[in-house]
């Protein structure tokens, strides 16, 4: 195979990988703090995308400002959901999972009624493409990669250096010990959930220019988030990056070398194997 094509496949893997990492961050965070698998993650991602659609494409607010606005809105939504719904079921794994499922259905249904059924795109905030040694990168992708890396760094610093961030981490590792040390579980759960939702919404907003938005983009997104989360390791940010890169590579190289659509089948089989052999994922803690 031509070296250029191979390089392109590698570039694709990295671009895709970071995109998937971005999508999976929120669900990983929520799972690590509250042990809740948030099925509604995909629909919150979708709502974030629609927020950008309205702020940026319809009301012509600056793209970066739109991102900030939508992040705030979605975080608020997350706070509301945690306070009024999830808090009642705290500690009950299965009911929380089912509740998130119900919310997923609800959001998709509401979105269909409110926003209509069509796939919609937004004007590209960063048009054009870049050619480096025969390998092509869409400008929009490069910017998104850049922004996601900044986001990852910010998140990492937050968790390591800031009090609230450390509290979240403590909760994730050992809730009882954390409480004994004075971490307010209520406040931290609420805060962590909001951040998780905000991340989901942000990833949706960042990706609208690269993909499109419709009420139905949530389902595939959350499934990919699961795969990343499992492969990389629940509760680990570097693990999420690794998981994302793995999935990105499978898709990128899988499409390149395998007939038809076997690439995704392989991704799923890998997940199954991973859980069987090493349930905490490649870099998960516990």
């Amino acid at each position: 195979m031509e070296p250029v094509l191979f390089l392109q496949a590698v570039a694709n893997s990295i671009m895709l990988g970071l995109i998937y990492t971005l999508i999976a961050l929120g669900i990983t965070l929520i799972f690590s703090i509250m042990k809740i698998v948030n099925f509604a993650h995909g629909q919150i991602y979708m709502l974030g995308a629609f927020a950008i659609f309205y702020f940026y494409a319809q009301w012509h607010i600056n793209y970066i400002l739109s991102l900030v606005l939508s992040a705030l809105c979605i975080a608020a939504l997350g706070a509301v959901l945690e306070h009024f719904l999830f808090r009642r079921l705290r500690g009950q794994e299965l009911p929380c999972l089912l509740l998130s499922l119900g919310l997923a259905l609800l959001f998709e249904g509401l979105a269909l009624i409110l926003f209509g059924e069509k796939d919609m795109g937004v004007p590209p905030p960063f048009p054009g493409a870049v050619n480096v040694l025969g390998v092509h990168f869409g400008m929009d992708r490069l910017v998104i990669i850049f922004l996601s890396l900044i986001l990852l760094l910010a998140l990492f610093i937050f968790i390591q250096k800031f009090k609230a961030g450390r509290a979240i981490r403590a909760l994730a590792q050992d809730p009882e010990a954390a409480t004994l040390q004075g971490v307010d579980i209520n406040r931290m759960s609420w805060f962590g959930f909001s951040i998780g939702c905000m991340l989901a919404g942000l990833s949706g907003g960042l990706l609208v220019p690269v993909y499109w938005v419709s009420p139905f983009i949530g389902g595939p997104a959350v499934v990919k988030a699961f795969i990343v989360m499992v492969l990389g390791g629940l509760g680990s940010i570097p693990g999420t990056v690794l998981g994302g890169l793995i999935l990105g590579s499978i898709e990128s190289f899988g499409q390149q070398f395998l007939p038809g659509t076997w690439a995704m089948a392989i991704a799923y089989i890998l997940v199954v194997l991973m859980i069987l052999i090493r349930p905490r994922g490649l870099m998960g803690k516990e």
Binding site: N12, L112, G121, W212, P220, Q255
Partner: protein
Amino acid sequence: MVGPTYAQKVLKIGVLGPMTGPASLWGLAMQNCVEMWAEEVNAQGGLQVKGEKYKIETVTEDTKYDAARAVAGAEKLVNRDKVKFIIGTNGTHEALAVLPITTPAKVILCTFCFDRSAIGVQYPYSFRSIPTAYEFYTPMYKWLRQKYPDKKRLVLVVKNYAGGLVVRDQAKEATEKEGYQIAGVETYQPATTDFYPIMTKILAHKPEVMDFTAASGGDTGLLLKAAKQLGYKGITLQGTQGDPGTVISTAGKENAEGHFFMGGGSDEAIASPAMIAFIKEYSKRYGSWNEVASQDYYIPRLVGLAIQKAGTTEDTDAIAKALEATEIKSPLVKGNPTVKFAGKNYYGRNSQVIMPLALVQVISGQPKTVTVLEAKHLN
């Protein structure tokens, strides 16, 4: 007291299709067209059949693009609502699940699926409401060959669903007839969101023409974007109607430039004033225009005409026969070309609607009609 002093007779028309879910784009367009027609007819007192005026009532059932739901919907329409006419079924799996119910019940089914056998002689009450890629590809590739005689390397990009596979086969037939060399056929999974990997593979074949076959609006936009961003400079086209608005907004104006697709006729070059009015009315009622509606417009009218011609609302054998011979002059396209049923030589019966199809190209970010094609190979 003003108004009719007798209870007006009612003619029920069933509508069956995906009204929610990702495929609702097609189902809702179909439903809206039937509704608008019904209102138009009722505003004139009803459908005149042999001296009596019938009020049109529509009954809609949502299939969610699922075969089991389609069956439930059909059962309800046929056995509870007792309709004799169903406009609907958009997916092949929907249609083929429903035909065993509608055929013995002699219910006329106007499907939108692409499957060849669904309107064959074994389903004498079944008709296809819209043109498929088969009606489009033969004249289109002929035209393309003449316009760009040196571009012969072709890659087919196929979405892995029933409709996609049918269109792929139709594309193969048409392109081989015109002497194109098929350098590759690449299939992608319906849930694909990122097209960089598959586009990389496609470009490895060094195509001069890329046919997206039955890709949906959002997919087409992303395929175009990926193609252009990865350096492709050749021809792109598809064999179905893409929603041009979605394609252009998703791909971005520069990336969509030059793309060919089957048009619906809303382009001002060929649209008549009636079409403009129709688009306005549709957008007002339903929030935004859906290009698919420009083709869905005809089927309820054709059915209405056939009923009138046959002089009965009950005898579907007579109505089916009449429908095969029904034609109308399109008020939406300049020159009022004929829209009718044909296809006996290919489908076994005159059960395929044919209408002049605009070949549309994106020029300066706008869909422009380049030429009007006719499916002369069907008779």
